[in-house]
Symmetry: C2
Subunit: 343 residues, 2 copies
Amino acid sequence: MPDLRKDPIVGRWVIVAKSRARRPHDFDTSPARRPGGFCPFCEGQEDKTPPEIIAYRRPGTPPNGPGWRVRVVPNKFPALEIEGDLNKRGEGIYDMMRGVGAHEVIIESPRHLISTAELSEPELQEVLWAYRDRLTDLKRDRRLVYGMVFKNVGAAAGASLEHTHSQLIVTPIVPINVWEEMTGSLEFYNYRGRCVYCDMIQQELATEKRLVHDSPTFVAFCPFASRFPFETWILPKVHGSHFENIQPAGVEDLASILRTVILKLEAALDRPAYNYILHTAPFDTQELPHYHWHIEIMPSLTRPAGFEWGTGFYINPVPPEEAARFLREVETETWEPERVAVR
Amino acid sequence: MPDLRKDPIVGRWVIVAKSRARRPHDFDTSPARRPGGFCPFCEGQEDKTPPEIIAYRRPGTPPNGPGWRVRVVPNKFPALEIEGDLNKRGEGIYDMMRGVGAHEVIIESPRHLISTAELSEPELQEVLWAYRDRLTDLKRDRRLVYGMVFKNVGAAAGASLEHTHSQLIVTPIVPINVWEEMTGSLEFYNYRGRCVYCDMIQQELATEKRLVHDSPTFVAFCPFASRFPFETWILPKVHGSHFENIQPAGVEDLASILRTVILKLEAALDRPAYNYILHTAPFDTQELPHYHWHIEIMPSLTRPAGFEWGTGFYINPVPPEEAARFLREVETETWEPERVAVR
């Protein structure tokens, strides 16, 4: 069972997995990369993963066999484990608890696709429904307070398998970055009476200089204080704090803009490694006037070094205005998302 | 001139450099890696760097020529620039200022050494004196409030040149990570009346299970909530908040333990890429009872992915107790720091 340990100075929690390695170079516990070769996420290989939690599949097909379109399974190398109680305790001045939580993998296609942009819009919609269904199910577990959906694409972004997939990690405490978003946006709300994200949307739509894509219900832009080159956020225009309250029309529109933005990033940067992260409100909150769910997409073009680790400052060599202009203007009609590994 | 831009939600500042690149793949603005070949940091190549700010050199040798032991020069690709005023201003809801500050490189040896462990203790002492002298000088500039000394070793840790060197970035605002350390340790102090770092030192010396190296005046241990495998901190046993107040005996002892710990990390992990970061109090503070300067060393064995970026949680596959045991027991007598590139 992993531990959750709290830094006594800044309050940051760390997941410490118990390793049985005996020598330092045994310590790399990530699953092997398997570009090209055998893939445990492909249709027909269902017995190579833990049994499925849910799958959207052809009527009449049994679980853990072919016939699915999206399939959710427990991570074979989980960061947190679902069984047991938290056993919160101290060790001298330190605080810790058992690493209770969930770590699931959303396999986005039965075919060995590599890019989200290779999915059709209806296929991508089903991926978003899987996010929503898993969050809705897991938030009933009173031990758990936060669900983070994220996607790693390419080795430079931390992906270990190339078959297109997302992950969901559900934690028994609100992560520090989410806590900072919640408290920062609440401070803004208390001071100005408005949602800071709604204000950002309004300003970005008005000036257009960091705008990447505008649609009737969603907007994509490169944020004013982008940490990374070509960092791009997607937000719903209508305020809402919880992604899992999304409606069918919202899923359709989100799939469309998410696919468009990823296509643009792939065409502009020639299939970069990237992460995207769904930011949504903690489980134990009702609809919040100050928080606004959104997706942050971060290409892995630069690598944080000592200065970034030490300060939390980021050095971004590409002004978001330039990045957004490239992304607005990039030609995607002739771009063919292909079955080749990301760079 | 770079911009400093503030994220309106969490208050994080980002340095945005104006790029003149015209196409996305022109955007990699980091200097080329030059392992092996020509090195602008070697003795005799002084004209390949901007003119030196200070150097410890043989009496009678003129600046910007051979004869130095440690040499400090402006970074040729500075993240911040020293000239001009801050020009703090708004852009709608956003806050920004000019990227005023300093970005210097401390070249640690005239010889083309790659590892800190290749320096003798007296040589490493001079490197520490250079940190101290530059911080003391720069803190007289009233526009600047924080000086971060750090070292990147190996490409995986963000280094672009292999010749052993450190960097110093001085900023006009207190970085968010430093701010969190300052406020977190103040909270602890207000509640318990003690320095949290002093408490940690006491507990680590008492239990010994995360202890890496103990010396009369400094201690090295793997912190309880280590974010990274083999993360190791070095702290002075006597409380002090400002590194730049270090005395000659302290420099001697610090050089000794720093060299020992790096030798241990190199021997245990076969010359890993790593960062070390000097954490010290902001310029505009007097001696603080709640803050304790220290050095954090972080080998680059894992790579943060979507989950880490999204949550601020880290997943560490190596318990610090195991890492510390390896580092305590590793054989360094037969380990030869060599002139080969880090992995």
